[in-house]
Subunit: 293 residues, 2 copies
C-alpha cells in the first residue's frame, strides 16, 4: 500500500531532517527553526518515495536513495516557502498549518527557503550520500538543472506570467513540466544516475516521470476545483480566483480527467521494460490519479 510506504518514508525523512538541521544556541537559531518548521511534518513526501522506490528497483544502497530523497524534500520545501510568500501566491496556509512567513515573518521565510536550497546541494555533495565523488557531482548537477531557471524556477516564472496573460495548452504543459515536472523527473532519475544505469533505463524512467508529472499537475488542478480544503491542507480555488489558466479551465473537468487516465496508461507502458519489479512504481500512478489530497 502506497499510504503505508508514504508514512514510513515520512518518518525516515523527518528523522533525517532532524539530524541534518540541529538547532544551534547562537542568534541565527531562528533560521534553522524556520527551516525545520516547514520541512519536518506531514507533507506527503511523494518525491522521496519515488527516489526510494526507483532506488530499490536499481538495487541502489538504501542510504543513498534516502539521502537523495532528503535533498529533494529540502529543495521542494524551499520552493513551497517561497511560493507562499505575499509577493508570490500569498498563501497563509500550507500542509494544514500557517505558512512559514505567517509563523515566522517574511524575511525569515525568504532566508529559510534560501538556506534550504543550499542544504539540498550540501546533502547530495556529502560523502555520506555516495562514496564516489563523481556520482555526487553528477547528482548535484542534475538537481541544479531541475531546480534552476531551465527547470523549477523557470516554471514558477511562467506561472507568474500566466497570471497576467493567458497561457495556451502547450504553454501550460511546458510550465508544469518545468515547475513541478523537473523535480519529479529528478526524483525518478537520480537513483539511476547513482548506479550509472544504461540509457534505456534512464529513458524509461524519464518517460514514466513525464507521464506521472503531467498527471500530477492535472489532478492538482482537478483538486483545486473539486477538493475538500481541510483534506487537501491548503487554500483551494486559488487558480480560478487568480484567473490562471489551468488544464481544467482550458479542457474542462471531464477532458482533464480523461487526459489524466490516459497518462496513467502511458506511465505504465514506460515501466514495461522492468516487468513485475516495477509494481510499486505502477501503484504510485494509481495512487496519484485517485488521490483526494
Amino acid at each position: 500500500m502506497i499510504q503505508n510506504s508514504l508514512a514510513e518514508i515520512r518518518k525516515i525523512i523527518n528523522d533525517e531532517i532532524d539530524a541534518t538541521l540541529p538547532v544551534p544556541e547562537t542568534k541565527e537559531a531562528r533560521l534553522i527553526e524556520a527551516m525545520r518548521y516547514s520541512s519536518i511534518g506531514t507533507g506527503k513526501v511523494l518525491r522521496p518515495l519515488l527516489a526510494v522506490t526507483v532506488g530499490d528497483l536499481m538495487r541502489l544502497e538504501r542510504q543513498t536513495a534516502i539521502r537523495i530523497g532528503l535533498a529533494i524534500e529540502l529543495l521542494h520545501t524551499y520552493s513551497l516557502i517561497h511560493d507562499d510568500l505575499p509577493a508570490m501566491d500569498n498563501d497563509p496556509m500550507r500542509r494544514g498549518k500557517p505558512s512559514n512567513h505567517i509563523q515566522f515573518d517574511e524575511a525569515t521565510a525568504i532566508l529559510a527557503g534560501d538556506a534550504l536550497q543550499t542544504k539540498a546541494f550540501e546533502v547530495l555533495l556529502d560523502p555520506k550520500t555516495h562514496e564516489d565523488p563523481s556520482i555526487r557531482a553528477d547528482l548535484a548537477m542534475a538537481l541544479a538543472k531541475a531546480a534552476g531557471a531551465e527547470g523549477m524556477a523557470g516554471g514558477q516564472m511562467m506561472d507568474l506570467v500566466g497570471e497576467k496573460e493567458p497561457l495556451n495548452l502547450d504553454e501550460i504543459e511546458r510550465m508544469q513540466s518545468l515547475k513541478t515536472g523537473a523535480l519529479l523527473h529528478f526524483s525518478c532519475v537520480a537513483p539511476a544516475i547513482a548506479v550509472r544505469a544504461d540509457k534505456p533505463v534512464i529513458d524509461a524512467l524519464t518517460h514514466y516521470a513525464k507521464a506521472l508529472g503531467l498527471m500530477f499537475q492535472i489532478t492538482d488542478d482537478i483538486l483545486d476545483v473539486e477538493g475538500n480544503a481541510e483534506m487537501v491542507g491548503k487554500t483551494l480555488h486559488k487558480d480560478s480566483d487568480a484567473h490562471k489558466s489551468t488544464f481544467v479551465s482550458i479542457l474542462g473537468l471531464q477532458k482533464a480527467k480523461e487526459l489524466a487516465k490516459s497518462l496513467r496508461i502511458q506511465g505504465k507502458e514506460a515501466l514495461s521494460i522492468f516487468g513485475d519489479r516495477a509494481a510499486e512504481l505502477s501503484e504510485i500512478l494509481d495512487f496519484i490519479l485517485e488521490r483526494k489530497k
Copy 2:
C-alpha cells in the same frame, strides 16, 4: 594596480555571465533578464578578483579560476537581490541603479535570486570548470558551506535579529564572519582546493581571508557613516537609521579605523609564506582599507 585588475575581471565576468545566461524566447525570459540585470554590470567583483589572484598564485588554470569567480559573483548577486527586498533591508538602490525588485517586481526578484543561487552550483559542477569531478564536488561542497545556514544565510539571519536586539562586539564579529566573511573565505580558498593544496597553504589563505573579511566589513561600516552616497552607489546611513549595532557604533570611528589597520597587518603576515609572489594579494588589503566605495 588593483583598479585595473578589477576592470579587467569585471569585463571577463560580464562576458561569462552573458554566455551563461542567454535569454530564451519563451515566457520565462523575464526571469533570465532579471538575473542578468543584477549580475552583469559595474559591481566591483572583489570576490572574483580574489579567486583569480589566488588562482594565479596556485598556478591554477585560468579558466577554472574564472569559473570559480563566476560562480561566486552569481551567488553574491543572489544575496544582494534578496537582501534588498522590502521584507529585508528594503533598499531601492544597488550598485547605482534601481534594485532588482524595483526594476522588475518582488516576485521576480525572489525568483531571480533563487535561480542565481542554483546557477552558481551548476557553474561549479560543470566539467568546463574542472575535468576532475572530485574537485568539482569539493568546490561545490565548499560553496554550499559558505552560503548556507552555517555561513552567509546564517549571518544574514543574525543581522536581522540584530535589528531587534543589540549585538555585542563578539556577536557582530561572528555575524560578519558569516554574512560576508564566509564567501570571501571561499573566494580565497577555492582555488587552493582546486589544486589540492597542502594544509599550510590552505591555513595561510584562511588567515588572510579572515583578516580581509573583517577589515572589509569594518570599512563598510565606516563608509556607511563617512562615505559619499553617489560614489558608494547604494543608500548610506542605513545601519544607524535602523539602529543596528556596527563596529563603528560600538568602537567609535577612531578605534574602528585602528582595528582595520591592524587587520591589514595581520593579513600581510598571513601571506608571508608565499613571499613576493603574493604581492597582489597584499595590494588588495591596501585597496580595501583605502577604498572610497
